[in-house]
């Protein structure tokens, strides 16, 4: 226990230990495709956070791009039957 640094001295404030942070950060690492294969002690925490930021930014860009394409596609197509087919195939 002495090796673990914690901020548990303050009463009434929720404890955050370094181990908790490390656990959460390694959980994040598993989610990011670029970092998934590497061992967790070889990748620094700030690198993981940086890759997380990049990942979120690129996902935002993808959503923007897809919304743009959808908007153009809606302008060109019109049939209701197409949408019914989409709904059916996506929900089954």
């Amino acid at each position: 226990m002495s090796s673990r640094r914690s901020r548990s001295r303050q009463s009434g404030v929720s404890r955050i230990t370094d181990d908790q942070i490390t656990d959460l950060v390694s959980k994040l690492q598993q989610l990011i495709p670029e970092l998934r294969g590497r061992r967790s002690d070889k990748v620094s925490a700030s690198k993981i956070l940086q890759e997380t930021c990049n990942c979120i930014r690129s996902l935002h860009r993808e959503v923007d791009d897809l919304s743009d394409r959808l908007s153009e596609l809606l302008a060109s197509t019109d049939t209701d039957s197409e949408q019914a087919a989409i709904i059916r195939s996506l929900l089954m």
């Binding site: 640094r5 901020r7 404030v13 929720s14 955050i16 230990t17 370094d18 908790q20 942070i21 959460l24 950060v25 959980k27 994040l28 989610l31 990011i32 620094s44 925490a45 700030s46 690198k47 956070l49 940086q50 997380t52 930021c53 990942c55 979120i56 930014r57 996902l59 935002h60 993808e62 959503v63 923007d64 897809l66 919304s67 743009d68 394409r69 959808l70 908007s71 153009e72 596609l73 809606l74 302008a75 060109s76 197509t77 019109d78 197409e82 949408q83 087919a85 989409i86 709904i87 195939s89 996506l90 929900l91 089954m92």
Partner: protein, 171 residues
């Protein structure tokens, strides 16, 4: 097909249903001249907002980021409705922060101690992350990391579903 689809209440199917419903509504609002660039741009904004809203609604209030996003979307649509096409003065974000702080119930924690220069990089990245995740400014570090993981999961689902829809439409 992915077995996830069979679970009627999975995040993917909840989001898909809501988003498709919103798309149908947007499609129905099309005027006769629907391919002018301005129309396309406006529709793009509506679709993006519908996608975010569908995702946030599929998560409901179970997550801080979804609450923050719903708050942002609602206040934006309220501003647009009350002031017409011209965008109104930006509402102060302090009210939204107070609302979120009341719900999270945490005091802002000091950054945890770590040795080395890694700590500085970590703190800087954490602040950047706060800007990217909705509602991140009011979260402490532990919650921020937790919410980020869930947010990324939901974003990837959103992108997956939207990609499939685009693929079907462009057949």
């Amino acid at each position: 097909m992915n077995p996830q689809h069979l679970n009627a209440s999975s995040l993917k199917s909840r989001f898909t249903r809501r988003f498709l419903r919103a798309l149908t509504k947007i499609n129905a609002q099309k005027p006769i001249s629907s391919s002018s660039p301005r129309e396309i741009f406006q529709r793009y904004g509506r679709i993006k907002a519908a996608a975010d809203k569908s995702m946030a609604n599929s998560v409901r209030s179970r997550r801080t980021w979804s609450r923050a996003m719903l708050w942002k979307l609602r206040s934006r649509s309220y501003r647009q409705a009350s002031s017409g096409r011209r965008s109104a003065v930006k509402t102060s974000t302090t009210t939204s922060h107070q609302a979120i702080r009341k719900k999270t119930n945490h005091e802002k924690e000091n950054k945890p101690t770590k040795t080395g220069e890694d700590q500085v990089g970590f703190v800087v990245q954490a602040d950047e992350l706060r800007e990217l995740v909705p509602g991140g400014e009011a979260m402490d570090l532990c919650n921020l990391l937790d919410e980020t993981a869930h947010y990324i999961k939901c974003l990837t689902t959103q992108v997956q579903v939207m990609k499939k829809i685009v693929d079907f439409y462009s057949l």
